[in-house]
């Protein structure tokens, strides 16, 4: 019973914080793009415009929810939920902190400490593509259809890169459990500091852009070519779900990269490099994790407002002809290095 309550509290906190960050990532996106274009950005709602996400949310709720006559209603309604939900589920296995020692109990900083954490993430995150494909298909019109086709090709091919690029991480750490991976990085160094794992990180980072449909790989929506791509026919809260789903996926991708490559909640010095013994350190480690995630979110936004969209064939060529051979080569290199070092 006690366990259940603790878990429920953790779930509420994690989802709450995550959705808050997602809402403010949208805000940050608008601010940062404005600054990069020598503009000021939204500053009217509340002091410095900080209440803008609230106004946006209200606007979405009050908009008319148009259901075009030509759509397949069941799948059309299901699709937005399918893009949002996987992002919320995957966050369950990401360790936000080591543990919080409260009243003699050590509460772990992860909702579900699975032994196959990363496999769970890939399994659930790849469900996200169904949301987009279903949206494109059930909209029963041309632009969403093209968007759906593109996303199925793009996301499925980059799933392979993602999966292969993290193999060296687990060869190094010797476990699939994300908590143990972070603890390993705390004991040694964050994985970006190893050359072969840095290559993994680079491939993972680029693939993450493709997986989250962010520029320069935002082919499924590609406003200039496909109007809105898969969400052309959507309006009101259904559109908002896609919109927030994209940012939630960005958050999850950032959290996974932080966990796998940048040391998660740890910093490479005491007392932050080991599971927390005091409540203060435990909270600080959650702060460290979130700070790292925010850096990644900034990077996502920064890249979006810098790079133009690639051509579709370039994207596919990059995935299949460069990244997949590179990841396989990298697995080989990692194996050789580990064999030499451990010997």
């Amino acid at each position: 019973m006690n366990e259940l309550i603790i878990h429920l509290i953790k779930i509420v906190c994690v989802i709450g914080v995550m959705l808050g960050i997602v809402a403010y990532t949208v805000m940050a996106e608008r601010w940062i793009c404005a600054w990069m274009q020598d503009r000021i950005g939204p500053n009217r709602v509340g002091p410095f415009g900080v209440l803008q996400p609230l106004a946006d949310g209200l606007k979405f709720i009050f908009k008319e929810d148009v259901l075009p006559w030509h759509v397949h209603k069941f799948y059309f309604t299901l699709a937005p939920a399918l893009t949002m939900v996987p992002a919320l589920i995957t966050i369950a296995v990401i360790p936000w902190g080591s543990n919080l020692p409260i009243a003699g109990h050590a509460i772990t900083g992860v909702i579900a400490d699975l032994n196959v954490g990363i496999l769970f993430i890939f399994a659930v995150a790849s469900l996200g593509v169904y949301g987009i494909v279903l949206a494109g298909w059930s909209s029963n019109s041309k632009y969403p259809f093209l968007g759906g086709i593109r996303s199925s090709a793009q996301m499925i091919s980059y799933e392979v890169c993602l999966g292969l690029s993290v193999v060296p991480v687990f060869m190094q750490a010797g476990t699939l459990n994300l908590m143990k991976v972070v603890e390993y990085q705390g004991r040694h160094l964050p994985f970006v500091c190893y050359p072969y794992l840095a290559l993994s990180f680079f491939i993972f980072l680029v693939s993450a852009f493709a997986e989250t449909n962010r520029l320069p790989f935002d082919f499924p929506e590609a406003e200039q070519e496909l109007v809105g791509g898969y969400h052309t026919e959507y309006s009101s809260m259904k559109f908002a779900m896609f919109f927030l789903g994209e940012y939630a996926n960005m958050f999850v991708a950032s959290a996974v990269m932080v966990t796998l490559f940048c040391g998660g909640w740890s910093l490479p010095f005491a007392p932050f490099n080991a599971p927390a013994q005091t409540l203060g350190v435990g909270l600080a480690q959650i702060g460290i994790f979130l700070a790292k995630v925010l850096c990644f979110l900034f990077f996502f936004i920064w890249v979006r407002w810098t790079l133009p969209r690639f051509r579709y064939d370039q994207l596919m060529a990059l995935g299949w002809k460069i990244f997949i051979p590179l990841t396989i080569l990298n697995i080989l290199i990692t194996g050789v290095v580990l064999a030499v070092v451990t010997k």
């Binding site: 404005a34 000021i40 790079l307």
Partner: protein
């Protein structure tokens, strides 16, 4: 036309140097001075000859210059102007020679700011002034009537005092043919 394709090195083909350069470029813009004008609080700087909405002006004696000849009404391409001609008040000293519009309405929803009315006016009574934010909740609010147009136009401090001095400015009067109060160097030849 045959476009010459430059031979790229391996490093250039990887896009990485260009991407890094681009990232650095956008990052540098973040702390720069912003060009946004906070509009309703911070009005734009208008130049002396800014041509906004047409307005009616008075001469420096406060006389309505318009004599309701209706040339502007006839020339107006979108037919935005409606004039109801009338006579001056009995007691006015020029009551027997000059008319005055009883009502003068410009429909700002129709006006295209072409300035023909200003150009055609023989009395220099109608001017495009620095009024640029014209809003209203009802169509009726967008139909500017005579008092409103006179209020927007104000007094035109130019050299043409038709009745008082017959063209010549009084000695010592600062000659400042302007549109919105900003002094402008009088042109050679003048009026």
């Amino acid at each position: 036309m045959q476009v010459k394709r430059p031979k790229l090195t391996f490093w250039e083909k990887s896009y990485i140097p260009q991407i890094v350069h681009g990232l650095w470029l956008t990052l540098r813009h973040i702390p720069r001075r912003k060009f946004t004008r906070m509009y309703p609080e911070e009005k734009p700087v208008l130049f002396g000859d800014y041509r906004g909405a047409p307005t009616l002006v008075k001469d420096p004696d406060g006389r309505v210059k318009c004599v309701s000849c209706q040339l502007c009404e006839f020339v107006c391409p979108p037919k935005a102007i409606r004039i109801t001609p009338g006579f001056r008040a009995e007691q006015a000293f020029d009551a027997n020679v000059e008319k005055e519009p009883k009502e003068f309405v410009i429909d700002m929803l129709r006006c295209i700011y072409c300035g023909y009315c200003e150009e055609v006016c023989p009395e220099e009574a109608i001017f495009l002034k620095n009024v640029f934010a014209i809003t209203g909740y009802k169509r009726e609010e967008m139909r500017f009537n005579k008092p409103k147009l006179l209020e927007l136009g104000g007094v035109q401090p130019d050299s043409i005092w038709k009745w008082k001095y017959k063209g010549a400015p009084p000695p010592g009067t600062p000659i400042a043919p302007v549109r919105d109060g900003t002094p402008v160097e009088p042109k050679a030849g003048g009026h």
